[in-house]
């Protein structure tokens, strides 16, 4: 079976101020299959967000290839819709206008859009707030709206950059459950970046661990536990320990490089 998304030798360099070239990502290669949920994790500053942006097409000076459904892609588009870290919504548009934005851009008439967007809002539990403005919503609600918008754009793969980072522990848990439910229901392929090892294990089929800068793929860990997963089960804790140690290693390396 052809993979949904393939990354071939992605290398990203930044030209820093004092002429020294900073290599953010070094030869990243990855393969993701349809309906996979893959999580990328690693120490701070290892380039996870940059990688996601490259895949989304929001970053375009890099070496290597991003291949979606067998075709090389570079420009941004709804086929690789990304939900940003801050759950960005366009503040001058109502929630429903944000959610149906992708369809509006395609020229789909209002009546048809409205039906679909209300359904997605129902899916994330925000149908009461369809005509509110983003400033009236809480952080968690905005995150849900951003998710609904991304899902409505019907992407081949949905990209999420630390989607629950700004939320409190309980809301975070609720949102993780919500996301999993949505992904299972829509059977979407998802690529997530997170700091939380627990979240990574709870959600993903595979975890990709990135090294400290310059970021390479350190390890890929399969998570074969059945859903719904128990955060306190011994297998869960075991995987957590393994991943934790690997990340610790990388963090130590980062510290050493800075000294």
């Amino acid at each position: 079976m052809k993979p949904k998304l393939e990354l071939r030798d992605i290398t990203k360099m930044f030209a820093s101020d004092n002429e020294r070239r900073l290599i953010a990502l070094n030869d990243i290669s990855l393969s993701i299959n349809e309906s996979d949920v893959v999580v990328i994790i690693g120490p701070s500053g290892c380039g996870k967000t940059t990688l996601l942006k490259i895949i989304a097409g929001l970053e375009n000076s890099y070496k290597g290839e991003v291949i979606l459904e067998g075709k090389s892609v570079k420009a941004p588009g709804p086929d690789r819709c990304m939900v940003s870290q801050m759950a960005t919504l366009l503040p001058w548009r109502t929630v429903i206008q944000n959610v149906e934005f992708s369809k509006e851009l395609l020229g789909i008439p209002k009546a048809d859009r409205k039906k679909e967007s209300l359904e997605y809002l129902k899916l994330v539990g925000l149908e009461q707030f369809a005509f509110s403005y983003p400033f009236e919503l809480s952080g968690g609600m905005r995150q849900r709206a951003a998710l609904a918008a991304a899902l409505m754009s019907d992407p081949e793969i949905i990209l999420l950059d630390e989607p629950f980072g700004a939320l409190d522990a309980q809301t975070r848990k609720d949102m993780q459950e919500e996301l999993l439910r949505l992904l299972q229901r829509t059977k979407k392929t998802a690529l997530l970046v997170t700091h939380s090892i627990e979240e990574a294990i709870w959600l993903s089929d595979r975890i990709v661990i990135i090294t400290a800068r310059p970021g390479r793929v350190k390890e890929v860990v399969q998570v074969n536990l059945p859903h719904p997963r128990n955060r306190t089960s011994s297998e869960f804790i075991e995987i957590r320990k393994v991943i934790s140690e690997m990340i610790e290693e990388e963090v130590k390396l980062t510290k050493r490089n800075h000294v």
């Binding site: 989304a56 097409g57 929001l58 941004p76 588009g77 709804p78 690789r80 819709c81 990304m82 940003s84 801050m86 960005t88 919504l89 366009l90 503040p91 001058w92 548009r93 934005f101 992708s102 851009l105 395609l106 403005y133 983003p134 400033f135 009236e136 918008a149 991304a150 754009s153």
Partner: protein
């Protein structure tokens, strides 16, 4: 009688906030009026005419239609020049804000132009355009142009990249970005510039009318000055301030209804 008092108190408590605000705003005016009256009793009438002479002047000017004529003339003049300024400054501002090359080429000129007030150009403009509607339009255009242009540039430059990314990742093409992201995001700043431009234009126009015109509120003041009718001067000043207030108020209402999504971002 009972019904009246009940009705009155009902009205007051119903729109309590609005009436309260209005009454608060009225207090300085009342104090000013009382102070004016008191001082005018002590000073010569040619230095400070008493409020009743000014009210007389108002009623005379309103009955003869003189006040209306001059007010309309001023407003017509400002409409033309102001709208023209918006027409040029906003697109130009967007262009300069978005393209580095345009920015590099035009910015020095823009920065220099903003410091030249309309009044300084009046001698040249009168030479080239004579006096009358064209000259006034140019003077008003110049007054409004710079603030609108500069606010537009800053608004466009300040558009957060996150909004652009959002639009792109949802499938926006280049043509979409301008109308669906850049302009709405820059709109608050553009509005600020527009309001500022309006007040500059208004002031430039009054100055122009004072120097070289046959009609308008600025002319009215100058005419009254030469005829030493100080009460008409004050009448003109009050009218100018009042019209300015009306213009600003309607502008703000329009702004508020168009930008209601900003409420969350402004601390009250």
């Amino acid at each position: 009688m009972e019904h009246v008092t009940i009705g009155l108190s009902a009205i007051i408590t119903k729109d309590n906030k609005l009436i309260k605000k209005f009454l608060y705003g009225l207090i300085p005016f009342i104090l000013l009026l009382v102070g004016w009256w008191a001082i005018s009793l002590r000073l010569e009438s040619y230095l400070l005419p008493s409020p009743d002479t000014v009210i007389d002047a108002f009623s005379k000017a309103i009955c003869t239609g003189e006040l209306l004529r001059h007010t309309v003339s001023s407003m017509v003049k400002i409409a033309g020049g102001y709208l023209l300024a918006l027409l040029f400054a906003i697109p130009l501002g967007i262009m300069i804000g978005l393209w580095q090359r345009a920015h590099d080429m035009l910015n020095p000129l823009v920065q220099m132009a903003r410091f030249v007030p309309s009044i300084a150009l009046i001698p040249i403009i009168v030479l080239w355009f004579g006096i009358g509607y064209q000259a006034a339009t140019v003077i008003i255009f110049w007054g409004a142009f710079s603030p609108v242009l500069i606010s537009t540039i800053s608004g466009v430059e300040g558009v957060e990249i996150e909004y652009v990314d959002f639009a792109l990742t949802h499938g926006a093409q280049r043509r979409h970005l301008l109308t669906k992201v850049i302009i709405p995001a820059a709109l608050p700043d553009i509005f600020v510039g527009m309001r500022l431009g309006l007040s500059y234009a208004w002031r430039a126009m009054i100055a122009a009318e004072m120097l070289a015109s046959k009609f308008g509120l600025g002319y009215l003041i100058m005419d009254a000055r030469w005829l030493m009718q100080t009460e008409r001067v004050i009448m003109g000043i009050i009218t100018i301030g009042f019209i300015g207030l009306l213009l600003d108020f309607s502008f703000r209402s329009a702004e508020e209804s168009m930008l209601k999504w900003r409420k969350g971002m402004v601390l009250k």
